[in-house]
Amino acid sequence: MSKDTLFSKKNKKLLTDPLDDNNPITVQVLGICSALAITVQLKPAVVMAVSVLFVLSTANVLVSIMRNLIPSRIRIIVQLVVIASLVILVDQVLKAFVYDVSKELSVFVGLIITNCIIMGRLEAFALGNTPGKAFLDGLGNSFGYGIILIIVAFFRELLGSGTLYGYPVLEKLGVYELGYENNGMMILPPMALITVGILIWIQRARNKKLIESN
């Protein structure tokens, strides 16, 4: 195996690919469950993105270190145990430092365990690559995931409640005096799906090679 430097072209690709061409949410269809449920406001979305960043990159490294020791028959259980222990860590930290956000995320912190983005990357990447590369892959994919989360939450919070990160932007700008009303529809869960649908539309209109045949 050739030894390449940390920021060689190949490694950079690991980081940048998941941002667009191979985005976990819009292309790989991974990690959608949590992505949609917690995007009503920016704050929980950011917390979720950071939690996934931590869990995914650490789990990727750990599983990659153990990849030659894990018998393939029981690998799913081993992976789940690694992920579950990391998630317990995140959950306890959130409860201790940002209790209100952790209440808001409710079961979705626990659901990071079954967030397919993590299992998917472990299966597809960490099991066959060295820890360094697995770390980069974890970082790249959680950035790709986080970006979509934040874009969706940005529009839903701005249009739905007229605030950004809890700060009343539209009120300060005086938009309400012009007769603008918040679009209550954006807060409802189904609009998250439609927002992601539109994002995919925009992405694929720009990036023709992602278009599906059917």
């Binding site: 799913i76 789940l80 145990v81 317990i88 799906l193 439609i194 539309w201 059917n214």
Partner: protein, 205 residues
Amino acid sequence: MEELINIFIKAVFIENMVFAYFLGMCSYLAISKTVETSVGMGGAVIFVLAMTVPINYLLENYVLQEGALVWFDESFKDVDLSFLSFIMFIAVIASMVQLVEMIIEKVSPALYGSLGLFLPLIAVNCAILGSSLFMQERAYTNITEATVFGLGSGFGFFLAIVGLAAIREKIRYSHVPPALRGLGITYIITGLMGIAFMSFMGIKL
């Protein structure tokens, strides 16, 4: 009895796993290309949910909760193991799925042929772990209620995935803008189905 029917209806329609909480989305989107496979997946989910929710209910009430270990010894009444619930629940689910897979393979190879493919996928289906966590959050009073809740949320998933698959089979014959084909239009359909399901929300049971 009335209470049980209420829990069931609520889990199927009002608090539908897919449309109200977006749980199980990954397999929901990935395996809804044809009605036939989606029926297989939905059936497997109902089956696994009906098994794992009651087991996790017992675990929660006799091992994990604060003071739940009193049946074992009085001195355990201050022990609170609930921080372990994620790892316990997922272990139960993963091993149940493995067990179910082995049993079906031995007992009915025909059923295994149609379901077998989906079983490993179910271990990481968030709807399964989600149901157990909701069961924990809502604190059902007895095991029958928990079982009915498990069945109900499984049935809700079944309904959702079969419905989406039917629509996707039809939409193949219509003109969708190229960039929206496949995943994009599927998201939007699911959103519209979700809006339709929201009409159940006002129902008080």
